[in-house]
């Protein structure tokens, strides 16, 4: 009898593996939480997009007001597609948006805002990937939800679809406001 139990071990091992494999089917291997989750927004000192002389730093995000920080670039087609959702968030839901104009020239970035609208209170101009690297950004668009104390609370990778606004962004905003 004892030996039979030992002989069942391979089956048990396989079944355990199969359970994990089954769970694996419903996981998205590309979805990863930001390494900065629940950590302070990194320090920076950069010019703004519209006023090259004006410099902004971390204080921009510790005003006590909750902020959505959106990383975008003129070269990024998904960024254009999500602009209506961002405008909606800023205008209808009264959320403060700060942009990071990433790896762009000033001229192109400004042209982009002109064409697709400007939901941002201010845009941090980051042509050399200084701040975005600190944020661990690996592709635009990416969006960070930063609470009033400058702590990152939520991270959205990629395009914000209209459905994402009501399903994830707004509930997160409510939670951390």
């Amino acid at each position: 009898m004892n030996r039979r139990l030992i002989l069942l071990l391979p089956l048990a091992g396989f079944l355990a593996l199969a359970v994990f494999l089954y769970q694996g089917l419903s996981l998205n291997p590309f979805h990863r939480e930001s390494a900065l989750m629940a950590r302070e927004f990194p320090a920076f000192d950069l010019a703004t997009l519209k006023e090259p002389e004006r410099r902004v730093d971390r204080d921009l995000l510790t005003t006590g007001e909750l902020t959505l920080v959106n990383v975008w670039g003129e070269w990024c087609p998904e960024c254009k597609r999500e602009m209506p959702q961002l405008l909606d968030l800023a205008e209808r839901h009264d959320i403060r948006l700060v942009g990071i104009s990433w790896k762009d020239t000033r001229e192109k970035a400004l042209g982009f805002l002109e064409e697709f609208g400007d939901p941002f209170e201010v845009n941090i101009f980051d042509p050399d990937n200084e701040l975005a690297f600190e944020l661990g950004v690996y592709g635009a668009p990416e969006t960070f939800l930063v609470d009033g104390d400058g702590v990152i609370r939520y991270h959205h990778t990629g395009y914000i679809a209209p459905g994402d606004v009501t399903e994830t962004i707004l509930p997160e905003v409510e939670q951390w406001r």
Binding site: R32, E33, S34, A35, L36, K103, N129, F133, E134, L135, G136, V137, Y138, G139
Partner: protein
């Protein structure tokens, strides 16, 4: 004869192994290093950090923009005289543990790192137990009986 056919096959295969082909575009960068040790470290570091957006490639192997940014950063940190572990931690702080091809030893990876050692020990014990048991087992020519059966089986073909 089968043997000759096989050796011809082997030669053909060898010849085929000598043909050239295409490679996917990957970044080739020219970087200046004064110190070959630094260059070696750069190579090791960029080979053991994973590109965060690619399917499964190290940053030295991928042409994704973020890989280029990460290589730049590795280079800069090396030039600043940072240690390997500092550079790795620098990347983990920004991109997460995902970028380490060599997972750190911590709570959730004990099983990963410990299992081979445990298996090795188990194997050792198993061999020890089995051989001890078998040494005392009857040493008669056990295969004799089986051999007879085997021969019978094979011969039946011819006798039938």
């Amino acid at each position: 004869m089968a043997l000759m056919r096989l050796s011809r096959l082997l030669t053909t295969a060898l010849v085929l192994l000598l043909v050239a082909g295409l490679a996917q575009a990957a970044a080739i960068e020219v970087r200046e290093f004064d110190d070959p040790v630094l260059e070696e470290r750069y190579r090791d570091l960029t080979a053991s950090l994973r590109c965060p957006t690619c399917q499964n490639q190290a940053i030295n192997d991928s042409d994704a923009p973020v890989s280029g940014d990460m290589r730049d950063r590795v280079y800069r940190l090396l030039m600043d005289g940072r240690a390997d572990i500092e550079i790795r931690n620098h990347m983990v702080e920004r991109f997460g543990d995902y970028v380490l091809y060599n997972p750190r030893l911590e709570g959730r990876t004990y099983l990963l790192w410990g299992l081979p050692a445990v298996l090795g020990l188990l194997g050792l014990v198993l061999v020890g137990l089995l051989v001890r048991a078998r040494r005392n087992a009857s040493n008669r020519e056990l295969s004799a009986e089986e051999r007879a059966r085997l021969d019978a089986l094979i011969n039946r073909e011819r006798t039938e």
